[in-house]
Symmetry: D2
Subunit: 351 residues, 4 copies
């Protein structure tokens, strides 16, 4: 069987355009054959739990789910009573890119805060953290942050610790949307738990798909007091995998050695390489800090349109002409260089 | 890497204890490498749509989702306004085995009807198909049937056609929970469309996982007028896969040739073999028709308990001691014979 | 201003066809004028709380809501986590007559049980009270009973105590839909708390409208451990009255003296009078015990149709021709006698 | 029976601190007695429909509900599919003061926009009116505006017409939260339909409680194509009144003559009188236009605290010390003058 597509072609649209890392795929193949108890009572899921505990502490417990939207909604629902609300950055994925899933499927009100760089701070949290005990106000209960953020920035351990301390003082819990938390840890060269458990995060959406899994994210409860009913919420929210051994085997392959770190470091390095390359092209502006695997750029619309015919990517802001380029675990130096060369060509042609 | 489990061991607990069919796994491997547009705008998903159309007609459109609960809830929600209700057999999986997902996540009221064999009929439907226009009554809008049923029985094309005609006359739509619809078609030796499109079914939950996929079910809309907003409902119900090429490639592998039929026929044959073998064992009763890959049996509780230490399976009814044995695509004749022999031994020991 | 209707005409359709008891209306008039803090922080609501405590015990707390559907849904939602379910009689109002509100607005799965007379028993509860801890099964958490029942029958204190003891042993809580609990208490000549607090009921929907209020029901939490978040649930479920002093003043007028008892006794007496009168009419069958203010009868359909042109009432069961007649606090002996005479005439004409 | 409170005391906290207008209460008294069909099939509700048609046009249809939160949630839910979202001002009552009811009970995502004065404009709407057809974005479907706004400002007919034209061009519908729409019409001296039907508004939450009803608001569908299922949504959202004749009789009393206009004009006049009086007090700032019955003021916190012991009112913004004073239909000139005098005293004492 030949593939229906040319596997040499890469895009700079999203890290989820990539496929499956070969080591992950091998783990699936190895876990195949014979019968295993379904719905998570299998040996692979038991092994996966141990791996998560090694990274996040003995108290951590992981619940695999199918995608990132689900990891976030199941996390938030398990952290809140039905009338409680979630403070987040206005640019948070849960607010802008999940089709309204937190509200529609979860019935959860979000309390968004504008930010300059996609990052909350204690002071920004306080813009929504008020009205406790007032039935007319949706009760703030959770602060949700994303690391890396949707703007490609990275929270440091200290920044997260400050947020968690501030939140906890007010009776709020902290959720981390870690769709790209491996990229964040790699960027800062810190262990995963420095950005999560050790900083005081209560519940983590741990991202697998963007770092090379076939599918699979995990709700990781770091403080068992912060969440309840995860088993039931996962089931009723349609996230209980029958053949769970396969998603668990993927997480084990990702996290038991350094695959997560190699992959994240590589994607981040490609992001830096891309940023450096395009910064040298006259007329292209890179307006945001490039801290991980995302590069934002402002370039003429006609150039973007022509370039997009050669490499797919997304416009971030129609009004300003800002575009976003993402590097994945499988983006190569040659891919980056070819893309930068193509951009230079199109810019020159536009001139 | 050695597997963590002995792939020679089989259970008779559920067809989702099985792993991935090798041809399906190969399709995943082939689809890997390079970049593909995420969220379904890839060439594999386009090819999958064509395969579904070949089976279900040109008007059919398929939306892959992650699991069977989701296929059912997304189907039903796309067929109903928020205040409309779903008539189903009391034993329907949506009523008994999805943790309340239709109600909890979907806000959908079910109107269950007791049945002798898990099958609805026009007369049974009418026990709940009334009160149209009365705001005090949840408005019946959909009849949901399962084929094969949760009791291992199979609806014929004529039976389904009668249900559909009856439902349509009353302004009701018909949903088929086809978690095992391949087993039903194989059992009757009819094409898939004979049990669905041609019989008048409006929306189908097409089951992939139990017939050998790694993961993946599909909402298949057979009458485009019967459903709306599936794109958005799938997204907000956390069922939109980013790397959709892989689930689409699996469906293509399953349905483009006869893999589905070979697998379903085999599982059914193993069910029959098992039924025949255990019917010959004194003291074991097989109280229900064995029409596909499920065998129900009544045996002494202590025998069941001892047998379960050798082969895992589930009790269906604690009160009566009825148990359920399922055969999968990978159940072998040797597995069946070993199981029947073990049962005979335990019965003899009990005597 | 003349009324738009003839206030001498009565129906036997429902106790909510009646208007407002004059003493209740006077309480509203008295509470009018000047300003009072809105949303329940007023002196009338404080007084109402004391009245509820006198009836139901010091630990009782009442939350007025607008109607009976709301009293039930707010009660049940405050007693359950999002994945927990409610066992009820198949004929329960929450299952049959609220348009699916528990499921649609509350996301609550009901687990209905067929009963001969609208009454649950410990044995009937056990038909649904199982599967604890199994994520595939909506988790039973509440038993909801109605007193009087939808079939006009009445639970005794002992029957309720047996249900509560049985439920509590299994970790279940008990909700009483007391839309007509005043009628039940009057029928048995027991205090309200004999049927509620003293019997072990955890949360009560206390009915006001059918016993003479303009509008208003109350969620009464009898065991504070059984419910949480009622303040917030009432608000988000659109049940927080701004001018709450008026609903509170009505409850005070109903419950501070014997108005509730006089009204309920009278309605029940009219029910008995009606039953006795129609039992004497050849061809009319009264198939159910008449224990409070509801009378069920079976009579020829054409007779029912002609009678309905003179007095409005509802058919209970189209198939059997059973009809339901309800007496209200304002039904008079003359009304009953005129109705019975009309029935006798129509039966004679049919003969 | 003496009232529990001193009816001479008034507050400036909210127009819902007031009681029932005597003409409204008389309408309730007149509608009492005898039986009327419940749930809206009564002669008072029929008459109320005619009155609404006289104000809003022949196509208008009104559905009474219990409170303002419900009018908004039922309106918005009837205008949207489950995955569709609502654009509103950040300060909109639906966003800030309903405890999250649109999201929690309705599952509706709001798309808030910051505004200088509580009023949306076409340009402000466009900050959220984008992403049509993108499943990752909650689909904008409704623009919801409040008139008067939560900041006491008033939209003119032209401003609303511009919003409606803009919205309709984009396939959006317009909802007007008319909790105080009578105050807005009185302030501009225009008919109610100039601000609603004639301006292109599709669905209106018509406010009754704040202008003198005992209870009751109405969902008024002005364009029948803009909403569906209102009957069922009202029921499942626990808003169907059994004794509906009484809420309908109130609306008839309010709207059949000029009671609404007299009451609104009076409340507005008291607002102006109050604004004029306090503007003359040194040290008190009135930072917003006073266009109807709300007056916002900035004054020293200790003054506000002392004044509040004499007249209850709310702080609008803790950070700036801004407070809100509301006048009601029953606020008298003496009340206003006494309040202004008290404020002057406290300011002087503070000096």
């Amino acid at each position: 069987m030949n593939p229906r597509h040319d596997p040499r072609l890469k895009a700079f649209a999203s890290d989820n355009y990539a496929g499956v890392h070969p080591e992950i795929l091998q783990a699936i193949v190895t876990a195949n054959g014979g019968h295993q108890i379904s719905y998570g009572d299998d040996v692979y899921t038991a092994a996966m739990q141990e791996v998560f505990k090694r990274h996040f502490g003995e108290q951590a417990q992981a619940w695999p789910v199918f995608n990132g939207t689900a990891a976030n909604v199941v996390s938030l629902r398990s952290m809140t009573a039905p009338w409680e609300a979630v403070i987040c950055a206005e640019t948070a994925h849960i607010n802008t890119d999940e089709g309204g899933a937190p509200e529609v499927a979860g019935g959860i009100k979000l309390l968004p805060v504008p930010t300059p760089d996609g990052k909350l701070t204690p002071a920004l949290i306080d813009r929504q953290a008020w009205g406790f005990g007032d039935v007319h106000r949706a009760q703030p209960k959770v602060v949700s942050i994303s690391n890396t953020t949707e703007l490609g920035t990275v929270y440091t351990p200290d920044e997260i610790a400050a947020i968690c301390a501030h939140a906890h003082e007010r009776g709020l819990r902290v959720h981390l949307d870690g769709s790209r938390v491996t990229n964040a840890a790699a960027a800062l060269d810190v262990p995963l738990r420095a950005l999560t458990t050790d900083a005081g995060v209560d519940v983590l959406s741990f991202g697998g798909t963007k770092i090379g899994l076939l599918y699979g994210e995990a709700v990781v409860v770091l403080d068992p007091e912060a969440a309840s009913g995860v088993d039931y919420i996962r089931k009723t929210y349609m996230q209980l995998s029958s053949k769970m051994r396969f998603v668990s085997a993927q997480f084990e392959a990702l996290l038991s050695g350094d695959l997560w770190l190699r992959s994240a470091r590589h994607a981040n390095a490609m992001g830096r390489r891309l940023a450096e390359a395009v910064r040298g092209i006259p007329g292209v502006e890179v307006p945001r800090a490039v801290e991980a695997n995302a590069v934002f750029a402002v370039l003429p619309k006609d150039v973007a349109d022509r370039l997009r015919k050669r490499f797919r990517f997304y416009t971030w802001n129609e009004a300003t002409g800002e575009v976003r380029w993402m590097c994945a675990f499988d983006t190569t130096e040659e891919d980056v260089d070819a893309f930068a060369a193509a951009l230079a060509e199109e810019m020159a042609a536009a001139g």
